[in-house]
Amino acid sequence: MYSIALKMLIGDRGKYLGIIMGLTFASLLITQQSSIFTGLMTRTYGTITDLSQPDIWVMDPKVQFIDDVKPLQDTELFRIRSIEGVKWAVPLYKGLLKARLADGNYQICNVLGLDDATLIGGPPFMIEGTLSDLRQQDSIIVNDVGARTRLAKPPKVRGGKPEPLKIGDTLEINDHRAVVVGICRVSRTFQSQPVIFTTYTRATTFAPRERKLLSFVLVKARPDENLQALCERIRRRTGLAAYTAQAFKDLTYNYFMKYTGIPINFGIAVALGFIIGTAIAGQTFYNFTLENMRYFGTLKAMGATNYVLLRMILLQALLVGVLGYGLGVGGAAVFGYTLGGTALSFRLTKDLLIFSGSAISLICVLSALISIRKVMRLEPALVFKG
C-alpha cells in the first residue's frame, strides 16, 4: 500500500509540488535565518575564540561581555600570578582607539595589546609577516579585512580602487606613529572594526591616559588543575571575576541575547518561516486529502483499516517532509557558500540542521494530523454518494 500512497501523492503534480515548495520555503527560511543568527552571535565572542591559549579570563566583576572593558590596576596581574594553580598569567589590553588614515579620515579600531615578553594572545593566522615582528619599534599587525577595507589607502587615480594597507605602511593611532609589520586573519567581530595587534606597553602608549589600563588578565592553569576550582580561587583571593574561555563566551552570548533585539528579530523571521510553511504545506496537504476523500473512502470500503490509511498519510507526509527539508537546507547551504567571502555572518551547524529538521517534522505532523483526523472519521458509505 506504500507504493499506492506515494503514487496518489506524486500523481497530483500541482499539489505535490505545492506542498514541497511550502516546506522548502519554510526549511530555507528557518535554516538560513538561524544560520545568520548563529553566525552573528558567534561573532560576539570572536576575540575569545581567537585567543585560544589561556584557560581563564580574569576581569572586573562588572564586565558583562567581551567589549565591555572595565580596566583593572596593573598590580592585579601580580596578585593573580601568585595564586596556587596558575601556570602563567599575562596582561591583555583591549580598547577602541582612533586611527588616522592616510587621507586624513579617522577610523575606530579594536586594539589588542599583547604581553611584551611572550606575545600571548596573538592572531591565530598570519598572512604576511610574523608575530615576533611586533618587537620592532612602533609595530602593529592589522587584520586582512581591515587592511582591505576600512584602513585601505585612497586610490592613486581618481575613481580607482582603494589600495589595501601593506607591510611598511604607517598609521597614526592617537597621535602616535604605528608601522604595519604584518597582516593577519582573525574571526570577524560583532562590530566589524579593523583589529590591530601590538604589544601591551605600546597599546597603553596609544591609549589615552587613564589611571587603570589593564583590560584582562589571561591565565593558564597548571596541568591537571580543575579550572572551575581555579576560577573560584581567583575570585576569592582577588575579588575579580574569573571565567573559563567557554564561560566567558556564554556570558557574552547571553548578554547579546538578553539586551539586544537580535534574538527577537531573527526569532520573528524563523517563526514567520514556520507559520507560512505550516500554512502553505498544511493547507495544500489538507486540500489534497479532501480531494482524495472519495478514494480514501473507496479504500476503506475495500478493507483498508484506519491504521493502514494512517500509515499511508504519514508516508506521504514523510516524503514531502524529507524532500522539502533537503531542498531548503540545501538552498540555505548554497546561500551560505555563495556569500561566504562577504561580510555575511553565516554559520550552519549540526544543531541547526537538527533544529530545522525538527521544525519541518512538526509542520508535517501538524499537516498530516489534520488530514488523518478527517480520514479517520470518514464514513465509507460516502462512496455510494454520487
Binding site: I4, I10, R294, A301, M302, G303, A304, N306, F384, G386
Partner: protein
Amino acid sequence: MNGKDQDTAVLCRSVTKAYVTGPTKVMALRGVDLEVRMGELLMLAGPSGCGKTTLISVVAGILDHDEGECLVFQEDLRAMDQTRKTRFRGRNVGFVFQTYNLLPTLTAVENVSVPLLLSGHSRADAQSMAKEILVLVGLEERPHALPAQLSGGQQQRVAIARALVHRPRLIVCDEPTSALDADTGQKVMEVLRNTALAEDRAVIIVTHDNRIFNFADRIARMEDGRITSVESQVPH
C-alpha cells in the same frame, strides 16, 4: 448451520435506518426483509430516494442499521467492531461504483491490485493476479493505461475486475450502468454476469436502469424504504 443457511448470502429482517440531521429525521429503511441467495444476481430497483443505496450500504457493511437483523454469510455485521468489519469487507465484499472510483494516478492493473495488497499479497503476486482478471474482463491489452486514458465502459470493466480479483463472496454494485450509454451498459452487464456470478457468490445490483433488468435472477422493488415486491425471472 444447515444447508439453507449455507445457501443464503444475505438475510435481512425488519431492518430500519434513519438519518438524523438536527431536528430532522428521515427514515431511509422502514423494516426491510430481504434474502439473497448464493449464485444469484439480485437487482434492487426503485425510484430515487427509496432507500436502495442505504440498503446495499448496510448489506455491504459500510453503514450500520438501527434496528432489525442483517446477517451476511451468517455474520451479524453490527455486532463487529470497526476493524473487524473492515477486514470482513476486505475478504468478502467486492464493490462496483456508479462513478467507478478508480484511483486516477494508478494504472488499470494497479487499481485492480488494490484489494489484494490490502489483504496482504505481495506487489508482484497482486499484479500477476490482477493481469489475469483483466484478461477475464477483456482488458488484457491495456493493463498499464491510466483511468483517464480509458473509456467509461473500460473503466467500469476495470472496476469489475477490482471487485472480483480477491474472490469475494458478495459483489455489490451501485448503478453500474447509469454513467454508460445503452450499448456499453449492456456489454458491461454481460461481463458482470459472466464473470461475477458463480455458485459460491451472490451479486446485488442497485439500479433504476430498466434496460438491464433482463440480466437479473430476481428483481426486488423498493418504495419509500420498504421492499414492495420481489419478482423472479429467467435471465437472458
